[in-house]
């Protein structure tokens, strides 16, 4: 997981053709993450899992709802939304997971992510009752996760729009032990390449559903484009 440079995120509540799924899974990406902000159910996660399971790529379920935990994934990422106003999204779901899936944690299948959701227009921002963050806030969250709450992943989520490159660079400077995930608004090979130097793992989502060919070009070393 530490080596992942690129991941695609598939939304179980969105439609992608069998061919599209094949292209994503065989793109050379390092992982396929299943997750979404709304309409995620056990049934649609299961349906998507059955389609991606045959491919030889690490599969991650990003757990946003304990009711939609489908067995069989390689990893279960449990987000902790650092800039949520509610403790529910920070710790309570993780606590619940420990009660229900305590055994899995010893097999290191469950991985916690420290999320900072920046884009106030994003569904995830509203759903998890986030407060707006300044640059100072973001850097302090990164430092918090690097040192005081040593989670394996810091996930900077712009969700739908591209983040400020100078800020992303500053965040990367705060993180050495922590794996730095970036998601949001990556729409081209050039944007992906610009992030490569200072983001550990970039996550490409929406563009898959809007322009699959361009999405595939974001994979590092992609021959297309």
């Amino acid at each position: 997981m530490k080596q992942w440079k690129h991941a695609f995120k598939l939304d179980p509540n969105k439609y992608l053709s069998e061919e599209g799924i094949r292209a994503v899974c065989e793109s050379g990406t390092d992982a396929v993450i299943v997750g979404g902000s709304d309409g995620v159910t056990f049934d649609n996660v299961w349906e998507l899992f059955e389609k991606i399971e045959p491919y030889d790529v690490p599969l991650v379920l990003e757990v946003s709802d304990m009711e939609a935990v489908v067995p069989g994934f390689d990893y279960y990422f449990v987000p902790s939304v650092l800039n949520s106003k509610d403790k529910t999204w920070v710790l309570d779901m993780q606590h619940q997971a420990m009660k229900t899936y305590g055994d899995m944690v010893e097999e290191q299948l469950i991985v916690s992510e420290g999320y900072c959701i920046v884009n106030e227009e994003a569904k995830a921002f509203q759903k998890t009752n986030c407060f707006p963050v300044t640059e100072e806030d973001i850097l302090a969250y990164a430092r918090l996760v690097e040192h005081l709450f040593p989670l394996p992943i810091f996930y900077l989520e712009y969700s739908g729009k591209m983040g400020d490159e100078a800020l992303i660079r500053k965040v990367s400077e705060e993180l050495s032990r922590t794996q730095f995930f970036y998601g949001g608004g990556i729409q081209s090979k050039e944007e992906a390449e610009a992030l490569e130097g200072f983001v550990d793992t970039m996550v490409v989502g929406n563009i898959i559903y809007e322009d699959l060919e361009t999405a595939l070009q974001t994979v590092p070393g992609s021959k297309k484009g």
Copy 2:
């Protein structure tokens, strides 16, 4: 810090004579923690710090109020109250600390504690707006801190009453990487000895102010009593 078996906790809002302070600091305890649930101010922390600073024992300030952070301690423990209902007590104070004291974190002076406050009658329970916990809750918090939110310390706080020994033993079985602190209701050498086998660090507080001689006997290897 990993080797500490015993610590005394001094409350800056309670009076202890100079002789009492000397006895505590020279007792053979592994550390002196300064902290309290209410009435903690910069002034009374400073006053207590000046009295204990001359002694050759590690000094810890347990930060419950960012306004009362006095410089000069060997460690700053920042509690994160896992069973609080409010995110304020879980993450926000830590986030604030990263903004104000970001540099100190790199010198590893700041240490986060995952607190679980059990005794519903305790001031700390009420002040941090905790919800009551079952045995299952407590064990799941321990597991959470051991695996998913890997804090250096899990602090089981009974605050004023002695915890259930069977439960304390079960908690200790969940923790191997994490340092297990126990506090609350230790009133005798025998109670302290009973905990030694499965608690990493026991914290003795209230009894200092009620019966200093007995308090001193809780130090492992104490010749008194």
